[in-house]
């Protein structure tokens, strides 16, 4: 029972980060058909923002988190304005390649402007303490992760359900040109999609860097590839699917961590991804995807 609770905490805190990233990817994809390869670099910029805030002002934790989130949001919106607007409305391949190139350019920029080596981000040591809650050891970071993930998801859900702009986003995700007939402004919807995805990437960056204690130019890459595949597993374009996919991936990884024999541990990521490919073999359209999703 305690073991189960322990693993549940681990799975939610890890899967939650994937869920945030996957949700951001899915929102942008569902609105404009872009598979944004550069999403990981938004996360990386968020990480660098934390590093900068820590070494320059040594600010308290909430400020550091706010910096990561705000910078993620601004970078995502700027990325759309500068790089993706010229290819908006073109086929998926064109947009994907553009984002691939943007990602390459950003990584080279980080290497040159900051450093190719990891930069340490020292947070308040109290933050990495472990407390005992009902017989379960819970890291404060994990607890923060769970709270931040759940709050973010709840806020996004409220936004999408309760506000006119949120309803517009769901409409545009389903049929962009009919949404325009409603007078929904294409620019506003796309910009909002990027803002949300950047905000979520910022939250993910904060939680990720808080766990690892450092940031490097390629930091966002691996978690975002995993989040991508989580979104595909959930059903590409389905927002609840992306969140579900992220959590499933978290559970799979934590279980593998717990049960894989020592000799197999280096292959943990590979095994997790193979399991997901297996799930996709069984349901090619994803767990919550419709069988005809847009190509």
């Amino acid at each position: 029972m305690e073991l189960f609770a322990q693993q549940l905490v681990n799975a939610i805190s890890l899967g939650g980060v994937y869920a945030l990233l996957a949700l951001g990817l899915a929102i942008v994809f569902s609105i404009m058909g872009l598979v944004n390869f550069a999403h990981g670099d938004i996360m990386t910029v968020g990480g660098y923002a934390m590093w900068f805030v820590v070494i320059t002002w040594g600010m308290p934790l909430p400020m550091i988190a706010a910096a990561a989130i705000l910078v993620g949001l601004v970078v995502a919106v700027a990325m759309e304005r500068i790089a993706f607007r010229p290819v908006r409305g073109s086929d998926g391949t064109t947009m994907l390649l553009t984002s691939f190139a943007v990602s390459g350019i950003l990584q080279v920029t980080f290497q040159n402007a900051i450093s190719p080596r990891p930069r340490g981000v020292q947070l308040d040591p109290a933050f990495s303490q472990v407390i005992r809650v009902a017989g379960v050891d819970v890291g404060i970071i994990q607890l923060t992760a769970i709270v931040m993930v759940l709050v973010s998801l709840a806020l996004i859900m409220l936004f999408l359900r309760r506000t006119t702009l949120g309803i517009s986003m769901r409409a545009a995700a389903q049929d962009f040109s009919v949404a325009r007939l409603m007078g929904i402004r294409a620019d506003a919807v796309v910009a909002t999609a990027f803002a949300i995805s950047g905000l979520l990437a910022g939250v993910a960056a904060f939680l990720w860097v808080a766990q690892r204690g450092s940031v490097d130019p390629g930091m966002g890459l691996t978690p975002v590839i995993k989040a991508f595949i989580a979104a595909v597993m959930g059903g590409l374009g389905s927002l609840p699917g992306a969140v579900l996919g992220g959590f499933v991936l978290g559970v799979v990884e934590i279980e593998l961590q717990a049960w894989l024999p020592q000799a197999m541990l280096p292959f943990k990521d590979a095994v997790a991804l193979v399991i997901i490919l297996g799930i996709l073999l069984w349901r090619p359209q994803g767990l919550l995807g419709r069988s005809t999703d847009r190509a």
């Binding site: 006119t164 309803i167 769901r170 389903q174 009919v178 007939l181 409603m182 007078g183 929904i184 294409a186």
Partner: protein, 239 residues
Amino acid sequence: MPLLSVDGLSVSYGGIRAVRGVSFSVEPGEIVAILGANGAGKSTTLNAVMGLVPKIAGSIRFDGQEIGTTRPERIVRLGMTLTPEGRHVFSNLSVDENLVLGAIPLRDRSRAEALRRRNFERFPVLAERRRQQAGTLSGGEQQMLAIARSLMSEPRLLLLDEPSLGLAPIVVDRIFDLVQDLRRDGVTVLLVEQNVDQTLSIADRGYVLASGELRLSGSARELRESSGIERAYLGIGAA
């Protein structure tokens, strides 16, 4: 002054001219029909008028203002909207949410509330299903929702693209009654249809398209009496 006047409109799709030099106009308070067979360019014409597909030539004036390059979201705010062919309600959204979106161009929220009430009076079935997902409605109900959604922006001119498509005859009758009601409420209607007889029985004037070109035009009575319509449909050419 006509509410909508289109002059020499040409649209091309992937190198093929779908609409060639089409001109027509709609006066305030009229019901004007555009008739033609499948692939005649009727929907393309409406989409171009709304700015959903780019035109390659011609001018489009709404209420005296040139809107040939205006974006659809602007055009809706000027007072013209389109209920697209095949309904296209947002199936994942509830009936209420669909109507909320329709009212986006309105600045006045209380006006939106009044319009919603008016729409629920007009379509009681929608009021019953307001919390239901639009995708779960029947075809006729979806068509009513699509029209109601368009009316939420209080258009002066409503473009209706094949509203009777795929509906049972009794539902089709209701839709045509509704179009007449709309005129009584002061909405001008440009109606694209394949259902010639019923359309000409409610329309004031009509235009007939074939292969992307205007073949015939005249009052509804003239069109009913002319034999040119069938010939235009068969692609033999205009009288």
